[in-house]
C-alpha cells in the first residue's frame, strides 16, 4: 500500500486512523500529566516557591524601599563625594518623620546599620529629633546631632538602600562590599564567609572521602556474603540510619567529652585525657558515622548486581586477584560510588546540628551561619544570600560532576 493511501485509512466508524491515534496519544499524555501533577505542585509549593521568595529577599531592600523615596529623589543629582545639600537633609527628615509615625524607622535604621555600623543609634536619635521639628534648617540640626551625618559614605549607603534592589547581601556573602570606588574586599578581620565556604566544602569532602574508604570494603563484604549473613551485618550498618540524627549526635557528645567513657579509658590506659569534644575531629567523626550508610548503600546495591562470574572470568582469563578486582569489579562499582559520594557530599554541605553540638567554633558550617542570621540577627537577606550562594556552588559542582562522571552513569541500585 502506498503512503498516500495509508494517510486515508479509516477506522470502522469512518474517522481517519491518524486522528484516532492522536486522540489515544492525547489521552495517554493527559493521564501521565495527571499522575505527575500532585507531586509537581507539591514541589512547586513547598520547595521552589520558598526558594524563589528567599532569593528575592536576598536582593531586595525590603526594609527601606518605598520608605526613603523623598531622600532618593533629593539625592538623584548628588555627586556622591561631598556633603548633600539642605534639600537632601530635609527629604530624609521628612521620610523619617513618616517612618517614625508608622513605627518603621527601626527597620530602616537596622538596614542602614548593616552597611554603616553605628547608624542605628544615629537614626533613632535623629528620628526622635525631627519628629519634634516643624521647619529647618535640617542640615545644621543633623550635623550638630552627630558628626556622622557629614560622612558621604553614610549618604551613599542611604542612597543605595533607597532603591528596590541591592547587591549588598550577595557581595557580603562572598566577603565583598561596595566601596567608594567600586567593589572591594572587606577588611580581613571582617572576612568570614569565604573561609566558612572553604571549610564547609573541605569538611564535606573529607567526610565523603572517609565514608568511601570505610564503606567500600564493608559494602564489598556485604555484597559477597551469603544473604542470611549479609542481612545480619546489614542491620549493623543500618542501625545508625534508623536512629535520629539528634540522638546519634548526642551520643557522640557523651562519648567524646572530657569526662566521657573514651577519655576515662584513655586516662586508665595512658594516664591522660584528650580534647575531643568541640573539635574538628569530633565533627568529622560524628558526620562520617552518620553519613556512612548513605555512601555505603548505593555502592552495596550496585555491587549486588555485579555477578560473581565476572571476577571469575577475569581470573580465568589470566588476571590475578588484584587485577581482576581493579580492572573488572571496581569499574562496575563506579556508578554506585558516584551516587553514594554525591549523596553524602551534598547532604554534608548542609550539616547544622552536628557541627553545632560536637564541633568547635572553627567547625561551624554555612548552615550554622544561615541559622544565625535567620534566627538571631533577623537578617533574612543575608541568610538567603548565604544559602543561595551555597546552592549555586553546589549546582556548579553538580554540573562539573555531570561533565566528568555523567549523571546518567549514576546508579542507586
Amino acid at each position: 500500500m502506498s503512503l498516500a493511501e495509508a494517510a486515508f485509512i479509516q477506522a470502522v466508524d469512518g474517522v481517519p486512523l491518524k486522528i484516532k491515534l492522536a486522540r489515544a496519544e492525547r489521552k495517554r499524555k493527559l493521564k501521565a500529566v495527571g499522575l505527575v501533577l500532585p507531586l509537581f505542585l507539591f514541589v512547586v509549593i513547598t520547595f521552589l516557591s520558598p526558594l524563589l521568595v528567599m532569593t528575592l529577599k536576598s536582593v531586595e531592600n525590603e526594609e527601606t524601599f518605598g520608605r526613603l523615596d523623598r531622600t532618593r529623589e533629593a539625592l538623584a543629582s548628588w555627586s556622591g563625594q561631598d556633603l548633600p545639600d539642605e534639600a537632601a537633609f530635609a527629604a530624609l527628615a521628612a521620610d523619617l518623620k513618616i517612618a517614625g509615625e508608622q513605627r518603621l524607622a527601626g527597620e530602616i535604621a537596622k538596614r542602614i546599620n548593616y552597611e554603616f555600623p553605628g547608624a542605628q543609634s544615629k537614626f533613632k536619635t535623629i528620628t526622635r529629633k525631627v519628629a519634634a521639628m516643624e521647619t529647618g534648617p535640617y542640615r545644621e540640626t543633623f550635623l550638630s546631632t552627630d558628626a556622622a551625618w557629614g560622612n558621604p559614605k553614610l549618604w551613599r549607603v542611604i542612597q543605595g538602600a533607597s532603591g528596590k534592589y541591592t547587591a549588598y547581601y550577595w557581595l557580603s556573602a562572598v566577603d565583598l562590599r561596595q566601596g567608594a570606588s567600586g567593589i572591594e574586599q572587606v577588611p580581613a578581620n571582617q572576612a568570614v564567609f569565604l573561609d566558612v565556604y572553604g571549610r564547609t566544602f573541605w569538611i564535606a569532602g573529607l567526610v565523603t572521602g572517609l565514608t568511601l574508604v570505610l564503606g567500600f570494603p564493608v559494602a564489598y563484604l556485604l555484597a559477597t556474603q551469603p544473604a542470611s549473613r549479609a542481612n545480619v551485618l546489614m542491620i549493623f550498618v543500618m542501625l545508625p540510619f534508623w536512629t535520629s540524627l539528634l540522638v546519634r549526635t548526642t551520643a557522640w557528645f557523651v562519648l567524646l567529652r572530657n569526662e566521657g567513657p573514651l577519655n576515662d579509658l584513655a586516662q586508665l590506659l595512658i594516664g591522660s585525657r584528650f580534647d575531643m569534644i568541640f573539635t574538628r575531629f569530633a565533627t568529622i567523626l560524628a558526620m562520617t558515622h552518620i553519613q556512612l550508610p548513605f555512601t555505603l548503600l548505593p555502592i552495596y546495591s550496585v555491587m549486588k548486581t555485579i555477578p560473581p562470574s565476572h571476577v571469575r572470568a577475569a581470573r580465568s582469563l589470566g588476571a590475578g586477584p588484584f587485577l581482576a578486582f581493579w580492572r573488572v569489579y571496581f569499574p562496575q562499582t563506579v556508578p554506585g560510588i558516584a551516587a553514594g559520594c554525591l549523596l553524602t557530599f551534598i547532604l554534608s554541605l548542609g550539616y547544622y546540628i552536628t557541627p553545632a553540638l560536637v564541633g568547635g567554633p572553627r567547625d561551624q558550617m554555612v548552615s550554622n551561619y544561615v541559622s544565625y542570621y535567620m534566627n538571631n540577627i533577623i537578617n533574612f537577606g543575608q541568610a538567603s544570600a548565604l544559602g543561595a550562594t551555597l546552592l549555586i556552588i553546589t549546582l556548579v559542582l553538580y554540573w562539573a560532576y555531570n561533565r566528568l562522571v555523567g549523571i546518567d552513569k549514576m546508579k542507586l541500585g
Binding site: E107, R362, M374
Partner: protein
C-alpha cells in the same frame, strides 16, 4: 546542653499541638508563653504559670527558644503568630520594638510605670527580673587561693585550666577591656573605636586556647559539673540553682554585668488581652517576689524587692555587696555594633 533544649522544645511543641486540639473549644483562651527553658523556665512555671492557671483556668503552653526572634518575624510575615507572651533579653526588647515585632505596651493594663525600677518599663517590654552575667568556678578545684576578681578569669598562669565563655562578643569584649585595666566608664567609648576593639580581642587572645564556648544558659553549670572547665561565665541564677542542688561552685561578683529580662507581647498576637492579663499577674509584687525563691534573680518592682526572703537576698545580683563593681551593658552600643562585632568575633574564632 543544647540537645536537651531541642528535645524539650520538640516535646513541648508536640504537647502544644495536643493541648490546642483538646482545649480549643474552651472559653478561656489558652496562652503560649515563650521563654528560655531549663531552670529559668522552671522558676517561672512555679512562680507564675501554675498559680495563674489555677486562678484563671487559662491553659498555658510553654515553648522554649534561644532568642530566635527570626521565627517570630517569619510568623508575623506569614500572618500566623502563635506566641502570646515572650520573655526577652534587653537587647531584643529594644530591637524587637524598633522592628515592630512587639506590641507597644499600654501600662494602664499592667501597673503604673513609676512602680518599676528605672529602665525596666520600656515601650514594648516590661521588666520581670534583674540578672547578671558573672563568672563562677569549681571550688573543688580551687580549694584555697580562690579566684575573686575579674582579672583572675584572664589569668591562666595563676589559675590554669579551661574556662567557658558565651559564644558572642556581647559581654566578653567589655570584660576583656576591664580586665586589661580600662576604667568602667571608658569601656564603651573605647569599644566604639577600632583600636579599642583590637585591644579587647588582643586580651581575649591571651586565653583563647583555653576557652570552651557555650551558647545556651543551661550549659555553664554542666560544663563546670563534668569537669570540662574550671571556671565559666554564666547567668548568676543558673549557678545559684546548681549550688542549691549541692554543687560546690562559687560565684565571683566582681564586675558582674548587670542586665534585665522582660515580658513582651508579640505584635499580631491572637490573645493580646489574655497576654496583658498574664503580665499583670506576673508583675504583681507579691507574685513577683516568689520567683526569687526558685532562681536567684531579683524582681523589677520596688515593692517586690522588699518582699523577697532576706535569706535569699545575698544571692541576688541586686544585693548591695554584689553591686559594688557591677557594670551595666550599653544596649544602644550593641544595637549599633552587634552584627559587625559578631562578624569580627567569628572571624577571630576561625583564626
Amino acid at each position: 546542653m543544647k540537645s536537651e533544649l531541642l528535645i524539650k522544645a520538640l516535646v513541648a511543641s508536640a504537647a502544644a499541638a495536643c493541648v490546642f486540639g483538646v482545649h480549643s473549644a474552651k472559653a478561656a483562651e489558652p496562652l503560649t508563653i515563650v521563654s528560655w527553658g531549663g531552670a529559668y523556665s522552671d522558676s517561672q512555671r512555679k512562680a507564675y504559670y501554675e498559680p495563674y492557671m489555677k486562678q484563671t483556668g487559662v491553659k498555658i503552653t510553654e515553648e522554649e527558644y534561644d532568642a530566635e526572634l527570626g521565627k517570630l518575624k517569619a510568623m508575623k510575615e506569614a500572618g500566623n503568630v502563635t506566641w502570646d507572651v515572650i520573655d526577652v533579653d534587653s537587647a531584643h526588647a529594644l530591637s524587637g520594638c524598633d522592628e515592630g515585632l512587639f506590641e507597644k505596651l499600654d501600662y494602664s493594663k499592667i501597673a503604673d510605670t513609676s512602680k518599676f525600677l528605672p529602665g525596666t518599663a520600656l515601650d514594648c517590654a516590661v521588666g520581670t527580673i534583674a540578672y547578671s552575667t558573672i563568672f563562677a568556678f569549681n571550688a573543688d578545684v580551687y580549694k584555697d587561693n580562690q579566684p575573686s576578681v575579674l582579672e583572675d578569669l584572664f589569668d591562666t598562669k595563676k589559675y590554669p585550666g579551661k574556662r567557658a565563655l558565651l559564644k558572642k562578643p556581647f559581654g566578653n569584649l567589655e570584660w576583656a577591656l576591664l580586665a586589661d585595666g580600662v576604667p568602667a566608664g571608658d569601656v564603651y567609648k573605647l569599644l566604639a573605636t577600632p583600636e579599642g576593639v583590637d585591644r579587647a580581642f588582643k586580651k581575649l587572645d591571651t586565653i583563647k586556647s583555653d576557652i570552651v564556648w557555650w551558647e545556651a544558659g543551661a550549659q555553664p553549670p554542666e560544663l563546670l559539673a563534668n569537669g570540662q572547665v574550671v571556671m565559666t561565665s554564666a547567668f548568676n541564677g543558673r549557678i545559684g540553682n546548681a549550688i542549691k542542688e549541692g554543687k560546690n561552685f562559687k560565684i565571683v561578683w566582681d564586675r558582674q554585668e548587670f542586665d534585665w529580662d522582660y515580658w513582651a507581647i508579640p505584635a499580631d498576637s491572637k490573645h493580646v488581652e489574655g497576654a496583658y492579663d498574664f503580665i499583670k499577674f506576673a508583675s504583681d509584687p507579691k507574685n513577683m517576689s516568689q520567683q526569687s525563691k526558685y532562681i536567684a534573680y531579683a524582681p523589677t518592682r520596688v515593692e517586690a524587692i522588699a518582699m523577697v526572703d532576706p535569706k535569699i537576698a545575698p544571692t541576688l545580683p541586686t544585693y548591695p555587696e554584689n553591686m559594688k563593681t557591677a557594670v551595666t551593658t550599653d544596649l544602644q552600643f550593641w544595637a549599633d555594633n552587634n552584627e559587625d562585632l559578631t562578624k569580627r568575633f567569628n572571624a577571630w574564632l576561625a583564626q
